[in-house]
Amino acid sequence: MTDTLVVRPEPKAGRGTWRISWRGVRLITELELKQRVRSTKWKWALAAFVALVGVVTLLLSGAMNMLFGVGDGGGSDDYDVLFGVVVFFVLGLGLLVSPTLSATSINGDSKEGTLAPLQATALSSVDIVIGKLVGAWVASLAFLAVSMPFIIFAFVLSDAPAFAVLTTVLVLAIELLVVCAIGLGWSAVTARTPASAVLTYVTVACLTVISLILFGLTYPLVTQPTTFRVYDAVTYDDVTGNATECYFREETWEQAHTERTWWLLAMNPFVIVADAAPSNDDLVEPDYGYSGYSNQTMLGSIKYSVREARLGPRTVENWCYTGEAQELLPEEVKRLEQLQSLSPIWPYGLAFHALLAGGALWLAVRRVDVPHGKLATGTRVA
């Protein structure tokens, strides 16, 4: 057999670690997806995911139907909870599934002996890492895609603002990308696949649950005596028990200064999703004060609780219930304005996540780069 001479331009000079080629990324992405899609487990996983989300959505909407009834006009508020719960459920499942798609990607391949031959080609390490990231992300987006019918179903029932579904899904997709990147980073720095899987789950748990627990546990640390004004009744109506005359007095209580710890909440993917989703935003005055934001949607009330935490303790409490439509005290109006003018917190959360993801990818590229300098303990090249 005679071989035709293959004449190709040589890759450009230089180490080329950070050189990225669309061709290379696409090749690795295709390779990852082909490997994934052809395994039968993948189809079953997707089916199980659909079944789970579907069952929860339907059961929940059924339960709401029983509890609140449909068609009485006021039901849509309750279906807002359905939208919120379904979105959170999909996010939660997505955060569980995504690590499995990326957290063994590099050390697993290395173990199978399929990484080194790729590193030995003209592909750059960025090509390999980004290709793997996109592959894992597209796979996890498939899980999001199959749960879309249920998200849309819940959205249609609710009266969430028109763009809520778009923003929510977009933020969900970004969060899945972040988790895929974190998994990839761990799979690059650990030699054994169980270790990287566990570390990825621990990281996800830190962002979702442990940050929340920390927020709670730091309460005593940020709690200190704080003086605030109470508008309280001095005389009551004998019949109704409503206040007839109120006056201000100063009190000093132990109050939690959550303006120092709110960022713990901001890094939570669930909070980011809730904060980014447009809610029926306009906290009307009567909704504030006593009743908080009871008319808010589920995602909306999370959004405003976190923003409230960011403002810190209130400086005034209105305990003067006169039985009539409640007028807000000037200080309450001011706080409400502050609350509404507060910038959204999701950019902080997403920026932090982007930093995490970027760091993980940087580590992964460094580890995949050849020629290898120092090898991590327990790893070998091939």
Binding site: V6, R8, K12, G14, R15, R23, L27, L31, A120, V370
Partner: protein, 313 residues
């Protein structure tokens, strides 16, 4: 084809050293593989062969020393150097869900070959390693030997100028071994520089132009070459019982040693070249010795290897 000096060594290593933690895997490695030749890398397990090959393939950074691959330095010019090397690892790695054609096409594309051309090359390479009928099969159904051949085809997919084969013969059936040998010689004839490691030394004997012996991370240069040359000059003579070959050889003033203790009808004898061997044979026959077999002693590489091993102990 070699108008400047740099290209005369398609693959070169000078004073290469590499440690893993406290373990010095390669202490001092020197080798040169000119284009169109096959060089064997021989040494006991754990002597640093694979580590050296990884450095030559651009996967591992040497702690010291220089490496050139087709005139490029893998350290400063990684992608360019790697695109000239075909590396066949000793560890089998296959993408279980990909078919043989897909595996090769993927690798062709990883070297920047356009998809259609990569596919064509994949098919022709599968023919060449006799896997054409398994082209559409997923790699997981392949036997060990077949995987090994696929791995070889993978190393050839971009038509590299330098080929590094780490234990290519392991797991191959006898027929495939012969085919491997022929393929390697063909590639060398096409101008490829080949470095091959193997434990099947008798096979290397027929495949290689040159051999580099390695022991405890050090490549043995001239001393081993001299041993190989001496081994190539050692011939075995066997006569029918009743012939005293030892006496006959002494009478001819030959440098000989007994082949089997106290069996005078067998001997090992030094010859300078094949003409000298022919002269010796006719002299023996003329002297009345009933010689039944006369030829080079087994594998020269094997002899040297075993001598080295003995020195080691």
């Amino acid at each position: 084809m070699t108008e400047n000096v740099v290209v005369t060594a398609a693959l070169g290593a000078q004073g290469v050293r590499r440690a893993f933690g406290v373990v010095q895997a390669v202490v001092n490695a020197n080798l040169t593989v000119p284009p169109g030749t096959v060089t064997a890398l021989i040494g006991p397990n754990g002597c640093g062969k694979t580590t050296l090959m990884l450095m030559l393939a651009g996967l591992l950074k040497p702690d010291a020393g220089t490496i050139t691959v087709a005139g490029k330095d893998p350290l400063t010019d990684g992608p360019a150097a790697r695109s000239h090397v075909g590396w066949m690892p000793d560890a089998l790695g296959t993408w279980d869900s990909l078919t043989c054609v897909e595996t090769l096409t993927t690798f062709g594309r990883a070297y920047g070959i356009p998809p259609a051309e990569a596919r064509d090359r994949a098919f022709s390479l599968l023919e060449r390693v006799h896997l054409a009928e398994l082209a559409a099969q997923p790699a997981r159904v392949l036997s060990r030997g077949q995987k090994q051949r696929l791995s070889l085809a993978r190393a050839l997919v971009h038509g590299p100028r330098v080929l590094i084969l780490d234990e290519p013969a392991s797991g191959l059936d006898p027929r495939s071994r012969v085919e491997l040998r022929e393929l390697v010689r063909e590639l060398a004839a096409e101008g490829t520089a080949v470095l091959v490691s193997s434990h099947v030394l008798s096979e290397l004997d027929e495949m290689v132009d040159d051999a580099v012996f390695m022991s405890k991370g050090v490549t043995l240069g001239d001393s081993a070459d001299a041993l190989v040359a001496a081994a190539r000059q050692r011939w075995r003579a066997v006569a029918r019982p009743g012939t005293d070959l030892h006496a006959a050889l002494s009478a001819l003033a030959r440098d000989w040693s007994p082949a089997v203790e106290s069996d005078v009808s067998q001997a090992l004898v030094q010859v300078t070249d094949e003409d000298d061997a022919a002269d010796l044979l006719s002299a023996l026959v003329a002297g009345g010795a009933r010689v039944s077999a006369f030829g080079p002693v087994g594998s020269a590489l094997e002899q040297v290897y075993l001598t080295m091993e003995e020195e080691r102990r």
